[in-house]
Every structure is written in C-alpha cells, then in structure tokens.
Symmetry: C2
Subunit: 184 residues, 2 copies
DNA sequence: TAGTTTTGTAAGTGATTACTCACTTTTAGT
DNA sequence: ACTAAAAGTGAGTAATCACTTACAAAACTA
C-alpha cells in the first residue's frame, strides 16, 4: 500500500461519509487527495472498487471490537460492552461508521458487500448465550431487542449529541440490564 | 392536481425509494410514468422540488396516525399503539416510508426539509406523559429508549420480514411495557 | 366562439461524470 | 547499471444528467 493509495482511501472515506457515494465525484477525491484522477482507477479499477476497499476495512475494525467483547468473562459485562459498542465506534472513527450505517439503506449495498459479517453473527450468538446465562426467558428475542436498540442508538449518535447526553443514555440503557431485574 | 402530475409523483416515489434520489434520473421517471420529461419541470420546477412535494405528503400521513394515538384514553394503549406505528406505516405505504427513513442519513435532507415534524414532537410529549402516568421514574429517558427501539424496528422492517416475525416481535415488545412490570 | 391560461411535448444544450489512454517517472530485483 | 514492472500523470472522451425552449393541444372563461 503506497502513500498515495492510502491517501485516496482516506479522502474518499471522508467525502463519501460527508456527501454520499453517488454525489462525490472521483475528480473531487483526486483533487482533495492531491493526486491525479487516473490514479484512483489504476489502484481501484472503478469507483465501486474504491468503495469496496473502504468496506473491506470495516470487517477488520469490527473484528477487534467483537473479539474484545467475546473475551469478557461475565455475561452481564458482555451485554454492557455491546451497549457501549456504537458509542465506541462513533468516537473512534466517526466518518467511517456514519458511512457504514448510511449504506444499510442503499439498495446497491444491501445483500452485496454489506451483508451481515461473520463477526456480527458471532456477536449475536455470544450475546444470546449471555442472556441465557442470566436467566432471561427468551434470549433470542432479547438479542433482537438489543440489536434494535443499538440501531436506534446509532441513529441518535449521528446527530452529534453532547458527551453528557451520551453518558446519560448509556447508563440508562445499562440500568435496564442488571442482575437484580425481572427477566420475564 | 392533474392525472399526469399525480402519476409523476407516484412514479418518483417508487423509484426514489427503490434506487435513491441521486441515482434516479428524471428521464427514467418520465419514461416509467409515460410522460414527457419536460412536464416534471413544468410541475415541480426542478428535481428537488419533486422530492419536496413527496416529502410534503409525509406530514399529512403521519398526522393521521399521531392523531389517532393521541386520541386514545389509556396511557398504556398509547404506548402500545406507538410500538405498532412503524409496522403500520410500512404495511400501508412501504415505499414511501422506506424513502423517508433512508433520507435521515442523507446530509442534504437532514435539518432541511426533513426536520422533526410538529407531529413527531407532539407524539413525544404525549408518550412522555403516558410514561409518567404509568409511574415510570424517568419518563423522558423512557421515551428516548422507545424512539431508539422503534428506529431499530423500522430497520428490521426494511428487510421485509415475515408476518409471523413481525407478530412475534411486536407482542414481545409490548410485553416489555405492561402495568405489572417494574418501573425503575 | 374568441381569447387566455394551463397542460403537455420533442428536441435540444451545456455541464458534469466515470473512465481511458498514451505517456513519464519511480521503484525494485539481479 | 540494466531492466522490467509498478506508480503516477494529464489530457482526453463518450455518455449521461438536470434543465430549457419553442411550440402545440386542451381546458377554462367570457
């Protein structure tokens, strides 16, 4: 990976997240990266290839996070770590995950490059088990509920809320999942 | 509203929901509507004007639903009706709401045409009150949680789940909000 | 029915776009 | 140092796009 190739990737990520894939011309990417437009196509074949390369980074990054959650011993700790996941993703690589989430709604990337990754499925399994261990009556449904909740949380995070809001929301969510709670 | 004008709106809605705003050429809209391309601009000035006209319909439709929820007497009934809202929206006008939700992620329509409508704010107020009446300790936070949950549910509904899945999920969600539950 | 407005069309137009190509420069292996 | 491959450039190009314009048909109004 040459320096300029990496620069193209970073710039494209930034611009795609900011303006969207379709509304970001390759000419602009080249210009802001300080690179000839032709180089983009030398390295990534076409515009979609550029997007695919960006998407490929997603798997790796998500893998790190999922691994660290799976490694936790306590089932409750796993659930709490999962709740924190969206916030962590957005604080680390805001542009990247913004793009990632917006893609879910685009037909082109549904079912193709953006299919649920293996790590996502692993996380679901692990959390299902965590709910089971905690004595929840319907662990599969609880996971679905948690997934929906985190989707919604990501939605909130898109709007750049304050640190205080995030803190508050997070602890409220966690308070919903505690040892001494009803598990009907 | 002439027949052809309405035809343009319907066709544009369908295509925008299917392929996205930026990736749907006005030429295709005209072609599928069986209308000359120029007529689109006669009626809606430009492509964005067409989108705005579609968006304008959103307020009216949402208004109907919110009004019927607000009219309910029991606070718990209000909450359950709110839970059912996304499913109702998607079953009635799938394409329309798909477009609506995908717009949230597009910079162009965040904060502009797609700002939280008055009806949304009214619903939030009403549901906050419902939670308060039910004795929940932090009604404002409960509403936020419910909003996130329904965002996530809408996400699920995008993937065209089975009737059985919807039924199951809905009743599970409702079971989380019941009179005899903990209200910490 | 004459006149005016509205609705509709077909054929453009200039700008923009993703992508190519012929070419030069840099890098790396021997 | 020689050479071949890889990295990089910049000037195209064909296609597509949103939008315009000149004009005709239809619908309303008097």
């Amino acid at each position: 990976m040459t320096e300029k190739k990496e620069l193209i990737l970073e710039t494209a990520l930034k611009l795609f997240a900011e303006h969207g894939f379709d509304t970001t011309p390759t000419s602009q990417i080249a210009k802001e990266a300080g690179v000839s437009e032709g180089l983009i196509f030398r390295h990534f074949t076409n515009k979609e290839g550029l997007m695919d390369a960006i998407l490929a980074m997603s798997e790796e990054r998500m893998a790190r996070h999922v691994k660290s959650i799976v490694a936790l011993a306590e089932p409750l700790a796993k659930i709490h770590a999962t709740i924190e996941l969206p916030v962590k993703l957005f604080s680390e690589e805001r542009e990247f995950w913004k793009l990632q989430f917006s893609l879910k709604w685009q037909k082109k990337y549904r079912g193709q490059s953006y299919r649920p990754s293996g790590y996502y499925l692993e996380l679901v399994e692990v959390i299902t088990d965590a709910f089971r261990q905690l004595g929840y009556a319907e662990p599969e449904k609880e996971v679905l509920l948690l997934v929906m909740l985190l989707d919604g949380l990501s939605n909130q995070l898109m709007q750049q809320p304050s640190e205080a809001f995030i803190e508050q929301t997070l602890s409220f969510l966690k308070s919903k999942y505690q040892q001494n709670k009803l598990k009907s």
